[in-house]
Symmetry: C2
Subunit: 193 residues, 2 copies
Amino acid sequence: MPYGGAMNARVRSAERRAEIVRAALEVIAERGYRGASLAAVAERVGLTQQGLLHHFPTKEALLVAVLQERDQWDAVPDSRWRLDLLASLVDYNAMRPGIIQTFSALLGESVTEGHPARDYFTERYGRVRESMAGVLRAEYGDTLPNGLTPERVAPLLVAVMDGLQYQWLLDPASVDMPGAFRDFLRLLGEDTP
Amino acid sequence: MPYGGAMNARVRSAERRAEIVRAALEVIAERGYRGASLAAVAERVGLTQQGLLHHFPTKEALLVAVLQERDQWDAVPDSRWRLDLLASLVDYNAMRPGIIQTFSALLGESVTEGHPARDYFTERYGRVRESMAGVLRAEYGDTLPNGLTPERVAPLLVAVMDGLQYQWLLDPASVDMPGAFRDFLRLLGEDTP
């Protein structure tokens, strides 16, 4: 092709894929993964279902792209996390309810039988608990103020973040998610403002 | 009808309804509410879909019955809850993964748009936070060891219970849900065994 046409086609295809993934995030937030249809995603980006299948041959392939997208945003090197950065992450999450809704809906569905995101979440939580234990160890050493170990507090830290998201999504006027997360850090002995 | 036939019919109908609700709990655990079909529930209890509709005219009516069923189990008078009873509740939950799976899947779905369980969960969480604040006040008075109030710790208590359920359902071999919940009570200053 003249004028770098092949390159342009590749760029256009990548842009189109990104657009489809964004639409899929929205549709999953609205209907969950099981309730989402490729037809609804296609319609949102002005494609026929056939056109969408050219980019993502199956609904599961699209889900994989959605999950990879998330891993890209949240990919902060383990060693750079600190407890106060986690509080900032929760502040940031409170400004993006759509995305939090997508992943809260997916997490909920993932515990049902044979859900295609189940392995992803199982593996992810194992990794996140380990990485949170590392953050806690960097802050407190091997023993936390209350005699607990980093490994025992890590699942609580993760549970608080997830559990607060559901309460906040259901009733944002009554639940101050960032404030509540800082209260949890205070229980750990943090001197949080 | 002779021989108390009308009474027997009412009893049989109530038993049949209870059987349908149990089947619905299972189907929702497996597929979520949006993925559940009345046909699948009917098949499980050996009814035609028409026969099921006689007892529950819509899928939503069946969901309402499922949610009411839960409220019956968990209906402990507020004043009788104590923190150590909450730990026993988590022990009990760890012995009934099916039910916990049903309600974790429903909670996850409830944050999607127009979900028929959304109001139920919003209202329920408001009530549960209030009741947990009462439990904490009975235990600690107005100020908790870390300078927090019962109202500020209540959403954390609820979040930890919910969040641990997801981690445990996904990976029961790695997550000791009752132990982790007791660790959270320890952060509150409880002297838990």
